[in-house]
Chain length 330, copies 2
Amino acid sequence: MASGSSVRIAVDAMGGEGAPTVEVEGAVGAVRESEGRVEAVLVGREDDIRAELEKHDHDGLPISIAHASEVISMGESPATAIRKKRGASVVVAADLHARGEVEGLVSAGNTGAVVASSLFGLGMLENVRRPAIASMFPTIDRPSVVLDVGASIDSRPSDLLTFGAMGDVYARHVLGRREPRVGLMNIGEEETKGSELTQAAYKLLAESRMNFVGNIEGRSFLQGKADVVVTDGFVGNVMLKLVEGVLDILTSALKGPGAHQDFEMLRSQFDYAEYGGAPLLGVNGVVIIAHGSSSAKAIKNAVKVAAKFVDTDLGGKIVDRVSEASVTNG
Amino acid sequence: MASGSSVRIAVDAMGGEGAPTVEVEGAVGAVRESEGRVEAVLVGREDDIRAELEKHDHDGLPISIAHASEVISMGESPATAIRKKRGASVVVAADLHARGEVEGLVSAGNTGAVVASSLFGLGMLENVRRPAIASMFPTIDRPSVVLDVGASIDSRPSDLLTFGAMGDVYARHVLGRREPRVGLMNIGEEETKGSELTQAAYKLLAESRMNFVGNIEGRSFLQGKADVVVTDGFVGNVMLKLVEGVLDILTSALKGPGAHQDFEMLRSQFDYAEYGGAPLLGVNGVVIIAHGSSSAKAIKNAVKVAAKFVDTDLGGKIVDRVSEASVTNG
């Protein structure tokens, strides 16, 4: 989409823990701050959404409602839920996106359901077999992006190569990193270390045109030795929840007076509200997964991130980069 | 070995970063504090060890030296190193153990070389296909033991069942936990979540006689929801280095005045010096892997832990428990 025109983003208004209150407030904020560049389509129970909208001054703002009668809760099995609840807000949002009525979607709902409905509704980008959720992680330097953190389990080596290419594009065009350093999460520095998966993925990444910096271990990861860290979704999800958990414990432990600046720096790097959620890369569309406990600010930023993805044609850039990576590797 | 008689432990004197100084000091300390119950055999370059021994009052203490001319460094490939350096201290120590001249060994050297020389020299316990390194992790409750943290990559479901049985024995007889709660590291609470490996392992663990508490995620892990957490060595090693890394960063960040009691509690739970290292479970012998940066106190405690393993016949108890687990699962 050419810069200057407006971008339509669907917001799953029934998704997160604070739904629909924070979703509506966040969407209104994003539309207002974009000065009309961003249009929001709030997806969910019309009455509930309308009641929330009443709380805000939204006169003249390009905000509409797409009714969806059902809600998928956090505990539901994603595959079953999206089959049975065709009227669920996230399914309706993905359908709107698939039909071209919006150019991106944001949801703070059940992550598995967001992934499943996006896969089902949008399909994959050319040459991408499986999608990846890209999440920011704190380091002592600047944040690194890790992918996948939970969309694709039991990946193949070629999937990790694709994740590298998608992470490279994300780091360049969203984070503004030049020649992003792409690393492979592993349990040793040497090429021969690790599982069958990582050993094979190492070879593919080393032969690619990416700025591959080799294996990354837990410590070098936290020292910010790579901009992009590639891993299977199982390992990435364990990492995500472990680091979240440690920071949660320490946040409550370290409350009170005293300037724990370095800790605050780490903590703020992990602030979903700032990043506005994690993109689901590889699907044929723009999907931003916001944290289940998102604030209105987080939703607002997620909508802005979705619009930025549309503006920069991140999907097209991913297709180019992935095809380059595959060609280089025969 | 009957309680009351003495226990002979080999200490790889050339292993860690502070070798042989901390190894000799630690071994002398363990022998002295055991009042002769523990005998130490220091394995490594005789002249170097003798020079270190001169610094301590060791008159009358049952400490001997077994000469080993070579050293395997931290960066060497374990498989190659133990093949080429048959005179390496860790290989000689494993040989002494295999010949029955000692009943256990402690090394702070190259972990892969300790694992490889132990496997090669000692072989496996009955019905154990692959070994596991069991490491203590901090939680907000009390420490949990995670296994495997790096000995066995690309595990099978039955390996994870065995790790559960070995962790159960360790938690009962070394940590003193009654009916230890055994959990499976996974990326969701439900039975159907996770990789092919964890889904299959879930079934085996659920059918076993262990006190299986189901899937454990990063957050519930840190809340101490399980005494024993079972995982493939790749994931466990990533977890170990990530938590080590976070605590390292925060230790330097949080230096200075102020009582960060909860942080100190977490940190101290992760103190290798207190635990004296991580046991390599499943091999037909007693092998304690101390941290590469072990202090003399850590080595001392590692030697005591090795002696305790011998005294409680942990290997025999593991064989019983593993066979029970296999029988229950057909």
